[in-house]
Amino acid sequence: MRVEALLQFALAIAYVVLWVFMLAWSISGANYSISLTPWGYAVRFFSETHVIPPTVYAVWLFAIDAGLLPLVWRRSRYSLYLATLFSVLSLSMLMDTILFQQRYLQFHGYTIAPTPNGYIYVSLPAKPTLGIPTYILLALTILSIFNMITRARWLGTRVIEDPIVAVERVLKVLHIECSRIEGGVKVGGIKIIRRDDSLLLVNDHRIDEVDLGTAITEAVKVGLKQPVSVGVVDYGED
């Protein structure tokens, strides 16, 4: 799992979660306001409040897809292309939702109501603002495009949560059979055990303190004695 893809996922989640608490877009005024929430437009007119749900659900559904897809489908770089498409779709659905307001929730900054012997004109000035969640969605779109171009390799590092996990992942990629043991991993006749910040290579006769590279090499050496099958590299395939 690559940091770039995780970052993309984090942005998507941040966007949706932040949107629950902050407004993605709003027109704010004293007695009239329209705010875009994840479940629709909340329209406040004096003491009345209505929620009108337009295409807003698609906005965050596509955004989640854009974040989640590179984590779920990691074999092909096409998943990054698709994620970009989702993020662009999410953005365009947001634009469409804002256009919905312009088209159907027309607001000219005033209201006129009849009275028994005339009329009342109430000036309701309001100003539109884009919220922080919208900027995060923009960032998500840009990042997904960048990830698509670089195959999610612009950081050049991998997420390594735990050296044992790293060893295990290498073995898994090479389809080498291994098993988890207490505090380490067992491949064939050797065990690699983590102790504090160092790794211990344990075979039948001796215990050596090794670095991660050596541990992986040794594990692979032992593992290669097993039948080898084709490995899988994240976003490696065309």
Binding site: N31, H50, I52, P54, A113, G118, I120, Y121, S123
Partner: protein
């Protein structure tokens, strides 16, 4: 994976774009049913409460009717009287909206006038304007009162303060009397019947003096008990029922009114 990733991607792309387009199209189709139209209900309005024509000018009083939860606070505005063509800004005094116009001859004609205008202010914190038009009857305010009274040697002298928008003829006097304010009370004089004394006063605000010789000339139903104030009494009341003829351009109108004045003679009581 046996399936070509390119094919999967293409398929999902087309599908999701189709979903997005369907959503956009569907929303546009259902939008007219989704949205609600809101207008202000029970909005406050302005009603012309009264028009009083006095010698000082014409006062138009505007009543603000807040019949809902929305409170309107007036701050200014203007009114126009259609018949006279006068346009004037309103003044707001403690929430009451008043327009004061100069008195012009046109005000003597009509019984009611059309008043239109706009009152500006704030509705729940938002700037608002209320436009109105009302046809309202005119109240012409004419006041005639007794300013001063003196009685000596059987001659009653009454100073009337006249404040009218049209010329008036004051008189005749019917059943007037002067009596002490005491228990029991004593008459100084009383008359039964009509005393045909009239006095003319031009329009505006000024004083005129009626001088009436109560004895001996006023006729058989005049009872004069004393030609001067009674000794031992200093507080008196004059009852002066009187006819007043207002000379409007449209015709004369005569009304009868009771003028009274309680006064103290000499300084004691």
């Amino acid at each position: 994976m046996a399936t070509n990733p390119f094919k999967i991607t293409l398929l999902i792309s087309i599908l999701s774009i189709a979903i997005a387009l369907t959503l956009i199209w569907g929303t546009a189709q259902t939008a007219p049913n989704l949205i609600r139209y809101s207008t202000l209900s029970n909005a406050p309005y302005i009603k012309v409460e009264s028009i009083n024509v006095t010698t000082n000018g014409v006062y138009i009083r505007l009543a603000l009717i807040n019949n809902g939860s929305l409170a309107f606070k007036p701050t200014g505005g203007w009114v126009e009287v259609v018949e006279t063509g006068q346009v004037v800004n309103v003044t707001v005094i403690n929430g009451t909206v008043i327009a004061k116009l100069p008195l012009t001859p046109q005000w003597m004609g009509p019984a009611s006038v059309g008043v239109k205008g706009i009152v500006s202010g704030t509705l729940n914190g938002s700037r608002a304007y209320i436009a109105f038009f009302d046809v309202v009857p005119i109240h012409v305010i004419n006041t005639i009162g007794i300013a001063d009274v003196s009685y000596a040697d059987c001659v009653l002298s009454v100073t009337l303060s006249v404040d009218t928008v049209v010329p008036v003829v004051i008189g005749p006097i019917i059943n007037m009397s002067l009596f002490t304010v005491s228990t029991p009370g004593y008459y100084v004089f009383e008359t039964i019947g009509i005393i045909n004394t009239t006095i003319y006063a031009s329009a505006g605000s000024h004083n005129v003096t009626l001088t009436i010789r109560v004895s001996p000339a006023l006729g058989r139903y005049t009872y004069v008990y004393s030609c001067n104030y009674l000794s031992g009494f200093s507080k008196y009341t004059l009852w002066l029922p009187i006819g007043v003829t207002y000379m409007y351009p449209t015709g004369n109108v005569t009304s009868y009114t009771l003028l009274t004045k309680t006064f103290v003679v000499g300084g004691g009581s």
